[in-house]
């Protein structure tokens, strides 16, 4: 029995029934057992559609900017989603009063590609066991797996699986994620390579970018009405998917997210070409932390670090790097 799911449904029904919110953003069942989809619940009776489990991966904060002014919204928020919501509040994309953050303690989301790495997942049936394990039945038989063994990389290193800001909290407190101390290990790995090797690595990664912009669209912090890639005057880069233009797209998007990215990892999950987008964002997040002691998405009143300065900030010091 999924206590958290029941609690989410009850909370949603209550908030809608009392008229406290006009809409609940949550998760409902997808077209296959290992996917959920963003749910837009507007009536208390529909709260039964809401689900909770290890496949609730989407960052629902991405829908908030478009909902501004459309009545109060409750958002079922994991730690990352709550931080994204805080970021949007900081940047005045949605007023604090318009959002009710229903925080959920999270133990991580499954990486679907690791669920059945050699199989097709077609016809697979998944049942959640009481002890947090999953029973997976496929054409190759039946096995039981621990969710903890199948987590997405971003979840394993998550530092905020308890929502830091919330109006209500659902579920029992959960321990921190096992590798939370290693949040920037991937950055260190790449930093150990020489500049030429890093250059080659990133160019090889972005070469296959399709410029579908799934990364951008899945990101709650990318809400510009006209993205820089769509501007004709000035024309920053070509629509053509050349390695150089793709390189610039990813570099600029990473920079635009500096101090704003909450490492929810959705950009990387949604990339059809498996480009390790969040490795770039993480690197800048580490810089922001080291230079300014700032972590995104924790304080709705805070001014993002690139929107301000201190007279005692470090001087460039004469030489690059």
């Amino acid at each position: 029995m999924n206590k958290v799911e029941t609690a989410i449904r009850e909370t949603a029904a209550r908030l809608l029934g009392e008229g406290r919110v006009a809409l609940v953003l949550g998760y409902e069942a997808g077209s296959v057992p290992f996917r959920t989809v963003p749910a837009f619940v507007e009536r208390a009776a529909d709260a039964e559609r809401l689900v909770w489990g290890p496949f609730c991966t989407n960052n629902l904060a991405v829908y908030l900017p478009k909902l501004r002014g459309a009545g109060r919204v409750a958002i079922v928020a994991k730690g990352c989603d709550a931080r994204s919501t805080v970021g949007l509040i900081q940047e005045h994309q949605i007023p604090r009063e318009q959002v009710v953050i229903v925080g959920v303690h999270c133990s991580g989301m499954v990486d679907v590609d690791r669920l059945l790495p050699d199989g097709s997942l077609a016809g697979v049936a998944i049942a959640a066991e009481a002890d947090g394990r999953l029973t997976v039945e496929s054409g190759d038989g039946r096995r039981t797996v621990a969710v903890g063994d199948l987590l997405q990389a971003r979840c394993r290193v998550c530092e905020y699986n308890t929502p830091p800001v919330a109006d209500e909290i659902v579920g029992d407190a959960v321990p921190p994620m096992p590798e939370a101390a290693g949040a920037f290990a991937v950055v260190a790995d790449l930093a150990r390579l020489s500049a030429a090797e890093r250059q080659a690595f990133w160019r090889a990664q972005v070469e296959r970018c399709l410029r579908c912009y799934a990364c951008r669209e899945a990101c709650p912090a990318c809400y510009c009405r006209t993205c820089f890639v769509d501007k004709a005057a000035p024309r920053w880069l070509s629509k053509a998917s050349t390695t150089d233009d793709n390189w610039m797209f990813h570099a600029v998007r990473a920079f635009h997210l500096a101090g704003r990215c909450v490492e929810c990892g959705e950009c990387e999950r949604v990339c059809p070409m498996d480009i390790p987008v969040s490795k770039l964002n993480r690197m800048l997040d580490r810089e922001i932390r080291e230079r300014f002691g700032y972590v995104a998405g924790l304080d709705p009143e805070a001014v993002p670090p690139l929107g301000t300065f201190r007279p005692e900030d470090q001087d460039p010091g004469g030489h690059g790097g």
């Binding site: 880069l237 050349t242 001087d315 030489h319």
Partner: protein, 193 residues
């Protein structure tokens, strides 16, 4: 003559008939082979301080390397990090951003914002494989003509040691063979009707 005979580098991954070709620094080896390669560095100079300092260096007949291409901006805080990223996308070898000393900004605060942004751009590009020595961010005041010359010399030498960055400019349309006479009418590409 075929479109493939032109050194078009906009689509380095697809040849003229659409086949994928591998493309790794096609212009570097040609450049390096020529001993005449000179670094090309874009310099964003703020109008009130560093540009004036550069101007003073010129009128004082101070000698400094001719490798910088100056872009005058009102303030170092106006330098959009995208300018720096785009310079490297276009294949320039280095970028210099020079502004007023902290406290002296003509617009009071612009250089303070630059002081947060520019080092982050250096870090990001460094992580992407652009060596840190290629980007120089510094303060040069209107009276510091000597300092301007010194900064330009330093960054030019640093970039020279690093060699060409050499990403091909994505819209470089190289020299046509000179024996082709220009057409006076444009032929229709497809037949009409």
């Amino acid at each position: 003559m075929d479109i493939g005979d032109w050194d078009l580098v906009i689509c380095p991954e697809f040849g003229p008939t659409g086949e994928a070709v591998s493309q790794t620094h096609p212009t570097i080896s040609a450049k390096v082979a020529q001993t005449t390669w000179e670094p090309v560095i874009v310099a964003f100079l703020c109008n009130w301080c560093s540009y004036a300092g550069a101007d003073l260096a010129g009128s004082s007949r101070l000698s400094y390397p001719a490798n910088v291409r100056v872009v005058r901006v009102p303030c170092s805080g106006r330098v959009n990090p995208m300018f720096v990223i785009q310079c490297f996308k276009r294949g320039f070898d280095g970028v210099l951003i020079a502004g007023c000393h902290p406290g002296d900004c003509h617009y009071a605060k612009g250089n303070y914002y630059a002081r947060r942004r520019m080092p982050l751009v250096q870090e990001l590009l460094g992580y992407l494989g652009v060596e840190p020595g290629r980007i120089r961010f510094d303060w040069v005041s209107a009276s510091e003509s000597g300092r301007f010359a010194e900064v330009v010399s330093e960054v030019t030498e640093a970039v020279r040691k690093l060699g060409p960055y050499g990403r091909p400019s994505p819209i470089a349309v190289a020299m046509l063979p000179t024996d082709i006479a220009p057409v006076t009418e444009i032929e229709p590409v497809h037949e009409q009707g």
